[in-house]
């Protein structure tokens, strides 16, 4: 049973959340009961696929051993080679999962949510390396990794932020607000996923005309698919965040009106925010600092452009090794680099003045450019 994909899942979730709500109103939290809820949801998610369940268990053991070993190692030493080796070993299962379909080999390693668990683990390893995370108990690590509301597709939380929520029991007033916001988000999820996304898919995308091979069909499909992708994923995110809030954890948002973005940089601060900030902090920034430290390239703009290229190429590959995902990543890298250049030139010559009219024009242009990106992403072009 895939989380948030059927009404029976929501019924089970609602029953499981009742004791948490009652305890929340009494300013209490039972770690034993919360663990039971996570166990039941994980069991529901993997029970129908024994292979996935076994992979999931093995994967968790693998990551726990790696991270715990690195915590104890980091107390004594801080060799770069060891850090890279541990990071690589942590990514290996995800890498294999992405690689196997290319060779048309049956994927016995992957399971639902492997990407998001890997993002969380790599994040912990980097934070340990940087000294931002000095101690980590097994209980904390498992609580973070196995937090069930976000297990299948995020949003990707940060350990320190998550720990703060887990260690703090909200007051009655705070919990009332969390519950209210949580219920609102779950209803928003129903509106997005089960009504709007369903209607776009059923009434537009799946119609014979749009499935046809005419330029007009592809043109309409581009906008319909873009909206469908947003409402599908934003719907899922709303469910995951809503359930997290009811469990007392303020999981970060994933979307902030992305189709109202004024430019491509703005778009990446509004679309799949938890993933884009993860890539920004753990790929782009680290690459830029590394290059600046080594002084291999003197021009900071060139370093930044290589950083964008690396970030979006990795993001594309993460979606899958298929050509259309890689092209999607490179398309966004080209957009980011072009926009950065445009922004610098505009600072110098001020040819695109900032006012209400240019703001509206910017939003319209960005919307179409983004939709074209999603058309590449959909795989309909190639």
């Amino acid at each position: 049973m895939i989380p948030y994909s059927s009404f029976s899942f929501f019924m089970i979730l609602a029953v499981l959340l009742i004791p948490i709500i009652v305890l929340g109103y009494k300013e209490k939290r039972s770690m034993v009961y919360n663990s039971f809820v996570h166990f039941v949801i994980l069991l529901l998610a993997f029970i129908s696929e024994v292979n996935q369940f076994v992979s999931f268990i093995v994967y968790i053991f693998w990551q726990v051993i790696l991270v715990n070993w690195y915590v104890s190692y980091r107390k004594e030493k801080n060799e770069s080679g060891v850090f890279y080796a541990v990071t690589f070993l942590s990514i290996v299962p995800l890498f294999i999962t992405k690689l196997l379909p290319v060779f048309e080999i049956k994927n016995a390693v992957g399971f639902l949510g492997i990407s998001y668990l890997t993002f969380k683990t790599v994040q912990m390893i980097i934070d340990i390396r940087d000294g931002a995370l000095k101690t980590l108990t097994l209980k904390e690590q498992l609580a973070f990794l196995l937090f069930s509301p976000t297990i299948s597709s995020g949003p990707i939380d940060r350990f320190k932020r998550f720990k703060k929520d887990i260690d703090t029991i909200p007051t009655k007033e705070e919990y009332r607000l969390l519950l209210y916001q949580g219920i609102n988000k779950i209803f928003l999820g129903f509106l997005y996923k089960f009504i709007i996304a369903y209607m776009i898919d059923d009434r537009i995308i799946e119609t014979p005309f749009i499935q046809g091979d005419t330029p007009l069909a592809t043109f309409i499909y581009m906008y319909a698919y873009s909206l469908y992708l947003f409402f599908d994923f934003a719907g899922y995110s709303a469910f995951a965040i809503g359930a997290s809030y009811i469990m007392g954890v303020k999981t970060p948002e994933n979307f902030n009106m992305p189709f109202m973005s004024r430019n491509i940089k703005d778009f990446w601060n509004r679309w799949h925010m938890s993933l884009s900030s993860w890539f920004r902090d753990y790929v782009y920034m680290r690459f830029v600092f590394f290059m600046a430290k080594k002084k291999w390239i003197k021009n900071r703009h060139v370093i930044s452009y290589i950083g964008y290229f690396l970030l979006f190429l990795l993001m594309g590959i993460w979606h899958g090794m298929e050509l259309h995902y890689i092209a999607y990543g490179l398309y966004h890298a080209a957009l980011m680099i072009s926009f950065d250049y445009f922004e610098r030139m505009n600072k110098q010559f001020n040819f695109w003045k900032k006012n209400k009219v240019t703001d509206v024009v910017s939003i319209i242009i960005t919307f179409h450019v983004i939709c074209f990106g999603f058309l590449i992403f959909s795989g309909r072009l190639f």
Binding site: S153, G154, F194, I195, F233, Y236
Partner: protein, 52 residues
Amino acid sequence: MGFFTKKLKAFFNLSYVFWTMRVMYYLFILLGLLMIYGFKVTNSSTYIYNEF
């Protein structure tokens, strides 16, 4: 223009108006679900991002 906007905002901030709108919003969503899916326990399609 500003006067009417202020009045309108004040009206929607009234407690009973706010809660009436909120309840209607929930009912609208439930009605939408009922119209599309009826009373059957439906399995929706999976999420696009579950594949990644």
